[in-house]
């Protein structure tokens, strides 16, 4: 009996259950529409980010980065109830009596529900591609948006998703969702240099991809006070992924410990 097969099955069903949530689609598309309407046109036509005459690669990276400042919020919010739902519906007792291990179920839940939650976001990025094509008439923007999505957006999403799956193991879901939204604005939007308030934004741990877009894709001004090297961008990417794995590992150990002490 291979746990990898069980993992694929859990992934598929977690994906199916999450993707069917209409509220997820409404929230993601709503946020995307809001972004496109309020931000992007301004970015392209203004001198913001120094992009008026920027090459298409930088322009796309800047746009993807900009959308990434808001779009992950629905992701964090809609993933938060996945683990407590198993307790609430009492399926966890039943599942524990089966050969699929807790580790397999956690990883399957994480991957399946995260992937499903990313889909509406990705659809939003398709809207973004349409918008870009309309503005730039440059077909190169299509593969660039996809590549930048993987490079800038995905590491931060995986990072956020790990916390959103894990933290509700010890936190009340609405409280976590509230704290997460607060964290997102504090850790990505709040500039410590301008406000004097300490923040994770403009650091290597910014999940919105500040360091990655500046260091690896050459978006020259994303509010950072210093220039970022390629290696610092890469380090940010790897750190976000590494922390996501660590959080899932801690979750597994915590739930195993809880099970053993029952």
């Amino acid at each position: 009996m291979k746990q990898s097969r069980i993992l694929l099955g859990v992934l598929a069903y977690e994906f199916k259950m999450q993707i069917r949530r209409s509220s997820l689609w409404i929230a993601s598309i709503g946020v995307a529409a809001l972004l496109i309407r309020s931000m992007l046109s301004e970015i392209i036509h203004s001198q913001a980010f120094g992009l008026a005459n920027a090459p298409i690669t930088t322009l796309v990276a800047a746009l993807v980065f900009s959308t990434n400042l808001l779009l992950p919020i629905p992701l964090g919010v809609f993933l938060a109830d996945r683990l407590p739902r198993d307790r609430r519906t009492r399926v966890d007792e039943l599942f524990t009596s089966m050969p699929g291990t807790l580790r397999t179920r956690i990883v399957g839940k994480y991957l399946g529900s995260t992937l499903a939650t990313i889909i509406p976001m990705f659809v939003s990025y398709i809207l973004l591609i349409g918008f870009l094509l309309y503005q730039t008439h440059n077909l190169l923007s299509i593969p660039l948006v996809v590549a930048d999505f993987v490079l800038i957006v995905l590491p931060g999403l995986l990072f956020v998703a790990a916390f959103s799956i894990a933290c509700p193991a010890i936190l009340w879901v609405p409280l976590y969702q509230f704290l997460f939204v607060g964290y997102w604005f504090w850790g990505n939007w709040l500039s410590p240099t301008r406000t004097g308030i300490p923040s994770l934004s403009q650091t290597i741990l910014t999940p919105a991809g500040t360091y990655i877009s500046a260091g690896m894709l050459g978006v020259s001004d994303v509010g950072l006070v210093k220039s970022v090297s390629f290696w610092e961008g890469l380090a940010s990417l790897l750190l976000l992924l590494g922390i996501a794995i660590l959080v899932l590992y801690i979750l597994w150990r915590y739930l195993s410990w809880q099970q053993a002490r029952q």
């Binding site: 097969r5 099955g9 069903y13 069917r20 009492r90 039943l94 089966m98 050969p99």
Partner: protein
């Protein structure tokens, strides 16, 4: 599949003793586990299903040692478990839910898994409702989904915890018959506080109270122990006085007939009668506070 339990203890946080030195041998076939609420039955079931770890003691299911991780995993592979409160994902249909359970049970082959799901939906008479979301199901329908999920992997050991609670009489009978049929070539452990369910299905049983196994043997052994302790008394309405338990009261027009369990000090007019399993259970719960084993 034979289950051997010896000196099994479970102490929950806060020092609550749910199981006290439980010794139990469960042979193949249908086995009833009776006891009042809070007796420790569910704790024992959960330990057998690998959900809880015992505080101390030994547990073997066939050749598998339930105290090791490897043994627990081996037991889970041959186990079908229906918990007291079945959890389901309300937004999945019965077919999807059963397919998911099949995956978690390690049924790799998609086609054979789906075939098995269809078979079991037929067995529990849910084929026509198989595509409906589980949140639209009644309690009885959910119990049927529960038994279907427990049977998916054709388990050698089937543990069912209070399976008939909340079912209407017809469904209960259907369920009991189904369990009896299943017991033909496997071990079925039926935990319940409904005496009738055990009386109608099991030859062997154990009775638990306050974390102790206070009886194990056959139904015949138990009723033999209660012989001479069950009485029928008919009065004009005056309730008999004494140290006994009234099992039933039946109004017969001008008189009232009482069925009593206990020692009658002056059995004038009382007729000794053959104990049923329920009478024997009541007598045991009254009289026995220490474990006994049928000879």
């Amino acid at each position: 599949m034979r289950i051997e339990i010896s000196r099994l203890n479970k102490i929950y946080h806060g020092g609550i003793h749910a199981l006290n030195d439980a010794d139990l041998t469960i042979p193949g076939g249908m086995f009833g586990l009776l006891g009042p609420n809070g007796a420790g039955k569910t704790t024992l079931m959960r330990i057998l299903a690998g959900i809880l770890r015992p505080t101390s003691g030994d547990l073997y299911v066939g050749e598998y040692d339930g105290n090791t991780e490897k043994g627990r995993m081996a037991i889970k592979r041959v186990l079908g478990y229906l918990p007291q409160e079945l959890g389901v994902y309300p937004d999945l249909s019965a077919r999807e839910f059963l397919d998911y359970i099949g995956i978690l049970k390690g049924m790799d082959d998609r086609k054979s898994r789906q075939r098995r799901v269809s078979e079991l939906l037929e067995v529990v008479s849910l084929t026509n409702a198989a595509h409906r979301k589980l949140k639209t199901y009644s309690g009885g329908m959910k119990r049927r989904v529960g038994i279907a999920q427990a049977l998916l992997n054709d388990p050698k050991l089937l543990i069912v915890d209070e399976p008939t609670a909340g079912l209407d009489p017809e469904e209960r009978i259907h369920f009991r018959n189904l369990l009896s049929e299943l017991a033909g070539d496997r071990t079925v452990l039926l935990s319940t506080h409904i005496v009738e369910d055990v009386a109608q299905t099991s030859r062997n049983l154990a009775i638990m109270n306050n974390g102790y196994i206070i009886f194990q043997g056959t139904i015949a052994d138990l009723t033999r122990e209660a012989r001479g302790k069950v009485w029928m008394v008919t009065t004009n309405g005056t309730k008999p006085q004494g140290d006994f338990t009234v099992v039933s009261t039946m109004h017969m027009g001008t008189s009232v007939q009482y069925r009593l369990v206990g020692e009658l000090t002056s059995p004038n007019g009382a007729i000794s009668t053959e104990p049923s399993l329920e009478d024997s259970y009541v007598w045991l719960m009254r009289e026995k506070r220490t474990p006994v084993t049928a000879a």
